[in-house]
C-alpha cells in the first residue's frame, strides 16, 4: 500500500468513526428515553398526575410536585425576566465599552460558570436565613432567578446585537430618544431572540434539583402550597427522592415522573427552537 492509499484509508476510517460517534450520541438518547418509557409508562395516567405523594409507591402521585413546579416557575419568570432583559439592554445600549461594562461582562461570564449548587448555598445564606424566607417557594424562585439570569442576559444581548444599526439610526434621526428607540424599534426587532433565551432558561430552571435541595425544598410535601412562604416540592425533587428509595415501585414512579419532566423540557426546547428559526428568518 503506498502513501496515498494509506492516507485515503485513514481519512475514510475517520469519517466512519465520526459518523459512529455522532449516531452514538443520538443512540444513547434513544436508549435513555426507551428505557425510561418502558419502566414508567404504566404510571402515566390521570390518577398519577392528580395524586398526592404517598408512602406506598403504587398510590404515589405527582400532583404537589407539578403545582410546586408551576408556582416556582411563575415567580421565577416574574423576577428573572425584567431583571435579565433590563440588564441585557443596559449592557448593549447604555454601557458600551465603559469600565463598568467590561467588569459586568467578566462577572456575568463567570456567573454562568458557577455550579448550580453554589447558587443553592447563596440562596440558603441570603434568602432562607438572612431574609428569613425559610425553605419557601419565594426562596426557591429567587435562587433560580439568579441562576438563570446570565442565560437571559446573554440571550438578550445577542438578540439586540442582531438588530440592524440602520434601524436605530433611522429612529434617532426622527427625533426619538434612547428609550423610545429601544421600546419601538430595538425590542420589537429582537423579541424573537429574547423569547428564545427566556424559554431555554426556564427549561433549564424546571430541571434544576441541586440548588433547591440546598435551599430546603422538601421531597415529601403532602399538601399543595397555599402561599409563596410555604414549603414546596418540584418534579425533579420528587424524582430524586423516589430514585433514592430502595423499593422497585418508587423507581417506576420516578420513571413516570421523568416522562412528564422530559415532555415538558422537550416541548419547551421545541418551542424555543421554533421561535428562534422564525425570528432568524424574519431578521433576514
Amino acid at each position: 500500500m503506498n502513501n496515498f492509499q494509506k492516507n485515503k484509508l485513514i481519512d475514510h476510517s475517520f469519517k466512519i468513526l465520526g459518523m459512529l460517534f455522532t449516531f452514538l450520541g443520538i443512540l444513547i438518547l434513544a436508549i435513555l428515553i426507551y428505557n425510561i418509557v418502558k419502566v414508567g409508562y404504566t404510571r402515566i395516567n390521570w390518577t398519577f398526575l392528580t395524586s398526592l405523594p404517598s408512602r406506598k409507591p403504587e398510590n404515589a402521585g405527582i400532583y404537589t410536585a407539578i403545582i410546586g413546579t408551576l408556582d416556582l416557575m411563575l415567580l421565577t419568570v416574574l423576577f428573572a425576566i425584567p431583571v435579565g432583559v433590563g440588564a441585557g439592554i443596559y449592557l448593549e445600549e447604555y454601557a458600551k465599552k465603559s469600565k463598568l461594562s467590561s467588569l459586568l461582562e467578566i462577572n456575568i461570564s463567570n456567573l454562568a460558570g458557577v455550579p448550580s449548587i453554589i447558587y443553592g448555598l447563596l440562596g440558603l445564606g441570603v434568602f432562607v436565613r438572612f431574609f428569613n424566607f425559610g425553605g419557601s417557594i419565594l426562596s426557591g424562585s429567587l435562587t433560580l432567578s439568579l441562576l438563570i439570569l446570565p442565560i437571559i442576559i446573554v440571550a438578550t444581548r445577542e438578540a439586540i446585537k442582531a438588530v440592524p444599526h440602520s434601524l436605530k439610526e433611522a429612529s434617532f434621526a426622527l427625533g426619538a430618544s434612547k428609550w423610545q428607540t429601544i421600546k419601538n424599534v430595538v425590542l420589537p426587532s429582537s423579541f424573537g431572540g429574547i423569547l428564545t433565551g427566556i424559554i431555554l432558561s426556564l427549561s433549564r430552571a424546571i430541571g434544576e434539583t441541586a440548588p433547591l435541595i440546598v435551599v430546603g425544598a422538601m421531597a415529601y410535601v403532602p399538601f399543595v402550597p397555599q402561599s409563596i412562604f410555604d414549603t414546596f416540592s418540584v418534579l425533579p425533587m420528587q424524582i430524586f427522592n423516589w430514585t433514592t428509595r430502595p423499593q422497585q415501585g418508587f423507581a417506576i414512579a420516578a420513571a413516570g415522573a421523568i416522562i412528564v419532566l422530559l415532555l415538558i423540557t422537550f416541548v419547551m426546547n421545541g418551542i424555543a427552537v421554533y421561535f428562534r428559526n422564525r425570528w432568524q428568518k424574519k431578521l433576514q
Partner: protein, 291 residues
C-alpha cells in the same frame, strides 16, 4: 422627558448591577460561614487529613477525600466526552454534508437539555446494571457509571463549542491545505485543530468546570462514601454530593455539619472560578488575535 430617560437608564443599570451583587453575595456567604468553620477546624487538617467524616461521632475534616471523588468522576467524564465530542466536532465541520449537520446538531444538543436528575436515574438504574453484566464486581454505587453518564451529558458542550471554534478558522486556511493535496483528515489535524486550538481548549476547560460542579448524577449514582481512591468501581463522594447529603438531612444552623457545606462549597467555587477565569482569559486573547 430627560428625567424619565434618566430614570429608565438607572433602572436598567440597577438590573445589571444585580449580577454584581450576586457575585458579592456568593463570596460573602461562602466566606462568612467558612471563616466560622475554620474557627472549629484548622485549615491544616482541612487540607491534609485524608478522611472526611463530619457526620460521624469521630469527626475528620479532610477535604481531599471529597476532592479526589470529585476529580475522579470528572476525569472519567472528560475521558468519555473529549474524544467523542472532538471527533463529532471535526466530523460535522469537515465531513458531514450541510443538511446533515443542520439536523444532527439540535439532536445532540437535546443531550445537554435533559435535566441532570434524569441522567442520575439513567446511571443508577440502566448504566450500572449494564456495566455489572460486563464486570460483576462493580458496586451498585460507583464513580465509573456516574462518570460515563456525566461524560455523555458533556459531549454536546465539547462538540458544539469546538465546532464553533473550527468554524471560525478562516476558510482560506482550509482551502490552502486542500490545495496542497491534503486529505480531510490531514487538513483537520494538521491545520484546523491547531488553528482552533484555543477555542477547543476553552471548550474542554468549561467542560471540566461543568463536570466538577455537576451534582445530581453523582449524588444519585456515585454513592456517599468519601474515600481517597482512584478505583472507579467503588462508591465515592464528591463535594457536590456531600452538600446534597447534608442538605437532605437536618443539620441545625450553627452546627459544624451545617458549616461544612459552606467550606466544601468554597473549595468547589475556587476550583470552578479558576477554571472559568482561565477559559475567559484564553478566549479574550484568542479574540484579539483574530480581530
Amino acid at each position: 422627558m430627560k428625567y424619565k430617560e434618566k430614570l429608565i437608564e438607572n433602572f436598567f443599570k440597577f438590573c445589571a448591577s444585580i449580577t454584581i451583587f450576586t457575585t458579592i453575595g456568593i463570596i460573602a456567604v461562602l466566606l462568612f460561614e467558612s471563616i466560622s468553620f475554620f474557627r472549629d477546624v484548622s485549615i491544616f487538617e482541612f487540607l491534609t487529613d485524608t478522611q472526611w467524616t463530619p457526620l460521624f461521632s469521630e469527626k475528620h475534616f479532610g477535604i481531599l477525600a471529597l476532592v479526589s471523588g470529585t476529580f475522579l468522576t470528572a476525569a472519567i467524564a472528560i475521558a468519555v466526552a473529549l474524544p467523542i465530542g472532538l471527533t463529532i466536532a471535526i466530523y460535522l465541520n469537515m465531513y458531514a454534508p450541510k443538511s446533515f449537520r443542520k439536523t444532527l446538531k439540535p439532536f445532540l444538543e437535546i443531550l445537554a437539555a435533559i435535566p441532570t436528575v434524569v441522567y442520575g436515574f439513567f446511571a443508577l438504574t440502566i448504566v450500572t446494571p449494564f456495566l455489572q453484566t460486563i464486570y460483576p464486581d462493580l458496586e451498585t454505587f460507583n464513580s465509573l457509571s456516574a462518570g460515563i453518564v456525566m461524560g455523555i451529558m458533556i459531549i454536546p458542550f465539547i462538540s458544539s463549542l469546538s465546532e464553533d471554534a473550527l468554524y471560525a478558522v478562516p476558510k482560506s486556511l482550509k482551502l490552502a491545505a486542500f490545495g496542497m493535496g491534503s486529505t480531510r483528515f490531514q487538513t483537520a489535524f494538521k491545520v484546523m485543530v491547531p488553528a482552533a486550538s484555543s477555542g477547543i481548549i476553552v471548550s474542554v476547560i468549561l467542560a471540566i468546570s461543568r463536570a466538577i460542579g455537576e451534582t445530581m448524577i453523582v449524588a444519585i449514582a456515585a454513592g456517599q462514601q468519601p474515600q481517597l481512591t482512584l478505583n472507579p468501581t467503588v462508591p465515592v463522594q464528591t463535594i457536590t454530593s456531600f452538600i446534597v447529603q447534608v442538605s437532605s438531612g437536618d443539620a441545625p444552623q450553627g452546627s459544624v455539619e451545617y458549616k461544612t457545606i459552606f467550606a466544601a462549597g468554597l473549595t468547589l467555587f475556587l476550583f470552578t472560578f479558576t477554571l472559568n477565569s482561565v477559559s475567559f482569559w484564553i478566549k479574550k486573547k484568542y479574540q484579539e488575535k483574530y480581530e
